[in-house]
């Protein structure tokens, strides 16, 4: 079995060793599987391990590479996919009891694209039930229980890509696929001290993926570095006629590696968080100073003010309850684990069509304002969250509250974003900084994150897992 030093390597390095035949894809898959079988249940990180499929794919990869048929940087690389992506032959539970036995007889487009790239699926990552589509009050809102943070197993990973965060942080796979409707990639990446890339809306096909909010759902990679995430995005991005919101063929692909823009004009947001914890504010400011020292043109910026969070929340509530209408009508919503999830759909169903349309109009206004902001800046930046990972038993509904205009606007308008680790709290919990770009300018957020990681080593830190 390969040791932890290998399993924590960035995907780029793993790929390089696989290509040079210094690491066997079969041995790598076996090693990640063994580690996942040992640590996965402890962290509630997986919904399902796909051992048979993984070893079949790994053997095929090994044979192809030995024959000189190297497909690219993902060939032979083990990964996990959030359990809302359809994988033929395996359960796809959406993290929820009513769908515990659900199976699809086809693969999601993202799974197909990763198959074509030669990646090895070792498991389906645990998640918050229905990606939080019916709301939730506790970290335990999942068919597989609360996902535990590898940095402190008494704390949460954040959701809804909760298993994906734990898997990458604990080196149970080289990368994982997550999804975000509002914060579900950025938050777990920040809490778990990994890199999470939320692509521009429409760049990655949602075909075969559970819908929560049709006009806000996005799929993206979580990995060790921005470089790794960019390589995964290059493999999974592209137009798909099966997703009505897919960007056209001229815009959807993401070319990488590519020359990244530098120096960047970075807008340091002064109104992203009302009261970030002091040690988080300090870490984020130190991070932006690193980029300043490397030539970035940093100046203060402000997000436009307006009812943008309310609009984003309204859109998600209405689209979410429409997406799960049969669950609500049948009464099976009562089978959800979370007490809030059992009833919130009834509330969302009462939102008037006029209010929903109004939210969509406000989105149009917001898009224009944000676009104007990006005439001045290539990316805008702020701490990923104002707090660090919190205890598993925390009541999310009552025990914290803060405004999140950047998350609201970013997801309302489909902006690309990346969160990278930039420090630790006094309790050794990860802190993240996020970079957000103009739609279709995913390269800029990757450039900011990659430059930061080239000059720091926060992303190389490992949690204290026994």
């Amino acid at each position: 079995m390969l040791g932890e030093d290998i399993l924590y390597l960035p995907m780029r390095e793993l790929g390089s060793r696989i290509r040079a035949r210094r690491i066997s894809p079969v041995e790598l898959a076996e090693s990640y599987l063994a580690r996942s079988e040992r640590l996965g249940p402890r962290l509630n990180a997986f919904a399902t391990l796909t051992r048979d499929l993984a070893l079949k794919q790994a053997r095929a990869a090994e044979k192809e590479i030995a024959a000189g048929q190297y497909r690219g940087p993902l060939h032979g690389i083990p990964y996990a996919a959030k359990d809302l992506l359809a994988v033929e032959g395996y359960p796809t539970t959406w993290g929820a009891r009513p769908y515990a036995n659900q199976r699809f007889d086809f693969n999601a487009t993202v799974i197909e694209r990763l198959n074509q790239a030669g990646a090895i699926l070792i498991g389906k990552a645990a998640m918050i039930e229905l990606a939080g589509g019916m709301n939730y009050r506790f970290a335990s809102a999942s068919l597989t229980g609360p996902a535990k943070n590898p940095w402190n197993e008494g704390c949460w990973t954040c959701g809804s890509s909760s298993g994906s965060g734990a898997i990458v942080a604990a080196a149970l796979a080289a990368f994982a696929i997550g999804t975000e409707t509002w914060g579900s990639i950025i938050c777990p990446a920040a809490f778990c001290g990994v890199t999470g890339l939320r692509p521009t809306f429409g760049r990655v096909s949602r075909y075969g993926v559970m819908a929560l909010a049709y006009s806000q759902d996005k799929i993206g990679p979580m990995g060790r570095t921005a470089d790794d995430c960019a390589m995964v995005l290059a493999a999974i991005a592209g137009h798909d006629p099966l997703d009505r919101s897919s960007l056209p063929p001229s815009d959807a692909p993401f070319a990488y590696p590519a020359t990244l823009p530098w120096p960047l004009r970075i807008g340091w947001l002064t109104n992203a968080w009302e009261k970030p914890e002091p040690e988080i504010a300090l870490a984020a400011e130190a991070a932006i100073n690193v980029l300043k020292q490397k030539g970035a043109k940093v100046s203060e910026a402000k997000l436009p003010e307006g009812p943008y969070e309310a609009a984003a929340g309204t859109i998600v509530s209405v689209e979410g309850v429409a997406a799960f209408h049969s669950l609500l009508e049948s009464g099976k919503v009562a089978e959800l684990a979370d007490p809030l999830g059992q009833i919130n759909g009834y509330v969302s169903e009462q939102i008037a069509a006029c209010d929903y349309l109004r939210a969509l109009q406000i989105r149009g206004v917001c898009q224009n304002k944000v676009d104007a902001l990006f005439d001045e800046f290539d990316v805008i930046a702020a701490a990923s969250l104002p707090v660090a990972s919190t205890p598993l038993e925390t009541n999310l509904e009552t025990e914290l509250s803060f405004s999140d205009p950047l998350g609201g606007i970013g997801n309302l308008c489909g902006l690309p974003a990346v969160s990278v680790p930039c420090g630790f709290t006094g309790k050794k919990l990860p802190i993240g900084i996020q970079f957000v770009g103009r739609t279709r300018n995913d390269r800029a957020v990757v450039a900011a994150a990659q430059t930061f990681q080239t000059n720091t080593d926060w992303h190389t830190q490992r949690p204290p897992l026994a």
Binding site: R244, S250, G313, E397
Partner: protein, 127 residues
């Protein structure tokens, strides 16, 4: 054209809950030592939220609609929770309704007349 609201947005518990539902960035929590002390003080129950008579009537109508349709399957505690959630959800709706919009402000929705549009005239950003 529209004018921007000068109000600073702040999440109500309801708004927060909406976002937490989304697996959201706001699904973050206070550190252990602050757990008993929310960052922003807020009404503890729906009764403490002051609504205009029209808003209260709207809230009441929504609650009645829920109870008419689904009351049989709800416990008293769930009904009370629904009452609170509908009440707390009113503020963000009103915030949106107060936002000036014109007839010409088109919704940013997902409808495309050609579902598989094969081309875009917009150039890729240069930076």
């Amino acid at each position: 054209m529209h004018q921007e609201s000068k109000k600073t947005s702040r999440l109500s518990r309801r708004e927060f809950a909406l976002q937490a539902a989304l697996g959201t960035a706001t699904a973050a929590c206070l550190p252990g030592e602050l757990l008993a002390r929310p960052l922003i003080s807020r009404p503890e129950s729906a009764q403490e939220i002051k609504l205009s008579p029209a808003s209260q009537a709207e809230v009441d109508a929504k609650i009645q609609a829920i109870l008419r349709k689904y009351g049989d399957r709800l416990s008293e505690a769930q009904k009370a929770d629904i009452h609170r959630l509908v009440t707390e959800g009113q503020a963000p709706l009103e915030k949106m309704r107060a936002f000036p919009l014109d007839n010409s402000d088109q919704p940013g929705n997902v409808f495309k007349v050609y579902p598989d549009a094969a081309a875009s005239s917009a150039p890729e950003p240069s930076r």
